[in-house]
Amino acid sequence: MDTIKLTIDNREVEVPRGTTILKAAEQMGIKIPTLCHFELEGLALENRPGGCRVCVVEVVGRRNLAPACITECMPDMVVKTNSFRALNARRTVLELMLSDHPNDCLQCPKSGKCELQALAADMGIRDIPYKGQQSQYAKEFSPSIVRDANKCIMCRRCESVCHEYQSVGAIGAIERGFPAVVSTAFGKNLTDTNCVLCGQCVAVCPTGALAEVDNTGKILRDIANPNVKTCVQVAPAVRVALGEEFGMPAGSIVTGKIAAALKAIGFDYVFDTDWSADLTIMEEGTEVIGRLKAYLAGDKNVKIPVMTSCCPAWVNFFEKFYPELRDYPSTAKSPQGMFGATVKTYFADKIGVPRKNLVCVSVMPCVAKKYECEREELGVNGDPDVNYSITTRELARLIKICNIDFNSLPDAEFDSPLGESTGAAVIFGATGGVMEAALRTAVEVLTGETLPRIDFEEVRGLDGVREATIPVPGVADLKVAVVYGLKNARMIMEQIKAGECPYHFVEVMACPGGCIDGAGQPYHHGDASIIRARHAAIYEADRRMPLRKSHENPEVQAIYKEFYGEPCSEKSHHLLHTIYFDKKIKFDID
């Protein structure tokens, strides 16, 4: 390898050509602060505008200071990361940034998690010498995301994610000079734009400029309300991430503690979205099999590929960008939706509580789920199937608010009858998981034989686009693809549009690595090892399960027997499937 030698802070280091000063310093244990720089290594997410200038260092012989995040090491370069000149400049730049930043850390949703706050603390900022004009933008609310543009430091991470990663482009820099800020077109509410509410902007925002809508207060009020019963469901990815909020290493599996905490908070019924994930496989899997068989039989009207429909940001995406292709995704509701519909019918009847007196809450790794709850079609006469959703981060706050020492909680079980699940359900939390879970069921159903191996390694991994051919003896070679990041989803949609899509079945997730890096998860601040740890934990949780195929879930089998009849029955069509809408911007021409 072509390497070069240079000196950083009086120590010599050898690095491959092309290494930035930041990376070279990092490998020597020198941590140069950064703000705009953001990288999820191995997940193709990167933002390097070199704009914030807090990482400036002195390079001997250079006229001005160099941004370490973007300046490549050169042979014999002499770098000083902590010379007075560099430190003074860095502090001044930070002070400038703070001089146009609201001073309300105590009330800020990012407090304690804010990278700007942490940097100010590390640098010992005690006073901001610059007084002057401050940005005055109104706060803006959508069902999922709160925007406070006054806290925007123009790092552009959100813009990169929104434009390049998701190919949505709802937010970007507007205006120029001092008024320049990242916002929507015409400063509109996110709901009135093409935003799909994936929330990855929130996940990467270093400050409180973008945050999730907080529903913890609603929960406390509903639990205290003697007239309603509360039930809660917890999504798969939450159990491999929540522990981080309590100082546990990334990848800790805290399923039992979550159930215990939710009970301690006071929910009447603590259920598991994993149960409805298994249910989803039954419905979606059946739909896949049906459509596939028709397709293989030569039916020209059937839409292939079938695409998954669990991810609410993905649903928003195809409704807004490809409504003409909305027949491709499965009509199956998401696990959250199936759970809500079942709770508000079957379970409400079972416990004899009218649906309006039953509050269903979900804990999700996601902010788009908040919007999904508000979808009119996912409720009855204005009463939502799932009343509202909170994120993993909100659950952590709720646990703290309720004086619960999470770390010392003994494990508890989920309640029955909507609490039992299989390994196929928990892997919904990672990219490729829905595909694998569906394959575990569909291949067995199609062949009528027990799978020789359960692990479909070929659809696992953390590449943004993965494809595999799954031989189904006697039926066909099933061509499948797994993508995450909506840019990759867009690529599939374009293939379909062009009639060139080679796949039978496609899984789509909006967030990097799937739900494990959902926008509601604990902030990873660009540390991809956290995501890898969660990813590994998901498959570990799968391995630990005694049952690992959805159709073997006894509580799922029971509900078909008791209530739904069979997958894709009329009743399940009514309750477990949905319709999609054309939400593309339209020109009203007269």
């Binding site: 070199g50 941004p67 001044t92 730049v93 400038l96 146009d100 610059y130 820099a173 320049a180």
Partner: protein, 597 residues
């Protein structure tokens, strides 16, 4: 009968604004009326440079130089000068020092010290007629390059000439071409002309494009030949309609003549040129920002490397030069690098075009050899300070530059001496200031410009310049402290050190250079709340002299904020806290009792 006389009328933006086209019409009418169309011909040319006295009409071959010509003067010019051979004395230029009228341009101080290389054709040819350009060696250099020289030889010649970029930073042009030529050989490449002249008070590029568009096209084609590009793009301000029009005409004519397009001069070399329009963003003068703008994006600069030569327009190797740089290329090829290198100073070869403006007698466009002194420019070419006032400073390099003062008057001007003096060459704006100009207010003016034009991408420029401006405003409002002055210095230094692009890195220059050269003015504003130039409104103090005040109450009644109190027939007093310094009272007072300090 061959045409014996040419009547050149300036068709530059400045003179056009003063109705030069009507003069052309009238002149033509008179020629027709006197049946002289075979004898004399009216030619609309580019800028003569002497904008101060525009509209300009020049008669060739005798070089008679008429100034401030009106359409109604056409008759006299034709009847007296063309027919009878008698110069119209009242229209001749009068030298401000001798008060004598000057018979022709060769005797005008304004032109004596000038050396016109880039501007060689401006004011001599009809820019909308390619034949006039060709008659003055237009496209000869391109022909020579294509038929007699290899691209390497051309690059070597440019390198040898010592030509440096005229856009501001002064990067050696030949070296730039060489890098672009060696970058990713065989791939699509682009030649870009930066004509987004945004420096307020500079109009070199505009005049060049209006006066001699073919030289630019020719040079771009030569550059394309050198670096292996077949496509050129001119990024030009949309606010320059005349320059755009002339470029369009020139491109079309050059294509018709086979001097642009496919298989130029039968050599197999292809080169076409397109126009791209700026949309009002100074930062787009920075080459990476310019490229983004050409790609239909926000004009935000990006970190270099990669340089445009490595990855520019649409990610392809791109060479960006400014208009004036290109204008020098054909002459270097035609006359040789040695000739060019013999002009100028050791490290700055050739000439530089400046737009001379401000408090100077001869406002206009000048081209002078590198190494000329400021004194020569201001007092000889520029004719001295207007109204006999005292010279105070000259700002070069626009908002990115700094001011030069009395002590710099005899410094030879080149890239390096200007930087050493705390300014920079910039694109060539040269604004002269006199004793009535407040240097704190000037620094504030430039900062206001930078704040408006900052792209907002990096923190030091986006927030830092705003804070600098706020501190300067505090000072000119009379609320400044000595700590503020220290903060100005620190903040300026940090912005210079940390900003992302050239605009940001140079934006504090006007502050730093005025602080360096006029520190006592800053201190006066702070400690004495005094603006010696009387420019800072807030520092003005209106006072009523009780000895002169008759107590007529006129001032008190006129004061819009009732800041004047007093009773009839007794001296009045201005309440300084309420006074908004509008000056109404001064106008109303019939006794001269109100003074301004």
């Amino acid at each position: 009968m061959a045409v014996k006389m040419h009547i050149l009328v300036c068709g530059g933006t400045g003179c056009s604004a003063s109705a030069s086209h009507e003069i052309v019409e009238e002149l033509n009418k008179e020629l027709v009326a006197h049946d002289l169309t075979d004898f004399a011909k009216v030619v609309v040319t580019g800028c003569f440079g002497f904008c101060e006295r525009g509209p300009i009409v020049k008669i060739i071959p005798d070089n008679t130089f008429y100034t401030r010509v009106k359409p109604s003067d056409a008759k006299e010019i034709i009847e007296e000068h063309i027919i009878k051979g008698r110069k119209v004395q009242r229209l001749l230029y009068v030298a401000p020092d001798t008060k004598q009228s000057v018979p022709d341009s060769k005797h005008m101080e304004f032109y004596k010290k000038q050396l016109r290389i880039a501007l060689r054709n401006c004011g001599f040819i009809d820019p909308e007629n390619i034949e006039e350009s060709i008659a003055r060696d237009g496209y000869a250099a391109l022909g020579k390059c294509l038929t007699e020289m290899t691209p390497e030889q051309v690059v070597a010649e440019i390198k040898k000439s010592g030509l440096r970029g005229r856009g501001g930073a002064g990067f050696p042009t030949g070296l730039k071409w060489e890098i672009a030529a060696k970058s990713r050989p065989g791939e699509q490449k682009y030649v870009v002309c930066n004509a987004d002249e945004g420096d307020p008070g500079a109009f070199m590029d505009r005049s060049l494009l209006e006066g001699d568009p073919h030289s630019i096209l020719e040079a771009m084609a030569i550059c394309g030949y050198c670096i292996g590009a077949d496509k050129g793009l001119i990024y030009i301000r949309a606010e320059y309609p005349l320059a755009i029009h002339r470029l369009q005409v020139a491109i079309q004519q050059a294509e018709e003549y086979g001097l642009l397009g496919k298989d130029i001069l039968g050599t197999g070399f292809n080169f076409e040129i397109e126009l791209r329009y700026g949309a009002g963003a100074f930062v787009c003068g920075e080459e990476t920002a310019l490229i983004h703008s050409m790609e239909g994006k926000r004009g935000e600069p990006t970190f270099k490397p990669p340089f445009p030569a490595q990855s520019g327009y649409l990610g392809k190797p791109t060479n960006v030069n400014n208009v004036e740089t290109y204008a020098n290329i054909p002459v270097i090829i035609n006359k040789g690098a040695d000739w060019f290198a013999s002009i100028g100073t050791e490290k700055s070869k050739g000439t530089k075009v400046f737009a001379l403006a401000g408090k100077i007698n001869n406002v206009g466009l000048i081209e002078v050899p590198m190494g000329i002194t400021l004194r020569e420019i201001i007092y000889e070419i520029g004719g001295g300070i207007k109204g006999g006032k005292k010279f105070k400073a000259v700002q070069t390099g626009g908002p990115s530059g700094g001011c030069l003062t009395e002590k710099h008057l005899d410094t030879p001007i080149d890239y390096d001496s200007l930087v050493a003096a705390g300014s920079m060459m910039g694109s060539g704006g040269m604004i002269v200031m006199d004793e009535d100009d407040c240097m704190v207010a000037i620094a504030k003016f430039y900062l206001g410009f930078t704040v408006d034009e900052s792209c907002g991408k990096c923190t030091p420029c986006r927030v830092g310049n705003r804070r600098l401006l706020e501190i300067l405003t505090k000072i000119t409002d009379g609320n400044g402290t000595m700590e503020d002055l220290e903060e100005l210095k620190n903040l300026s230094a940090v912005i210079k050190d940390t900003a992302l692009c050239g605009l940001g890195q140079t934006s504090p220059n006007p502050v730093l250079s005025t602080i360096n050269n006029f520190w006592d003015e800053y201190v006066e504003h702070v400690t004495e709340k005094k603006c010696r130039a009387g420019q800072c409104k807030a520092l003005k103090k209106y006072m009523i002299d009780p000895a002169k005040c008759k107590g007529c109450t006129a001032c008190a009644r006129a004061c819009p904020v009732s800041a004047i109190s007093g009773t009839l027939k007794n001296p009045h007093v201005i309440n300084q806290l309420d006074c908004i310094k509008c000056g109404t009272c001064v106008e109303k007072c019939k006794f001269g009792a109100i003074t301004v300090r």
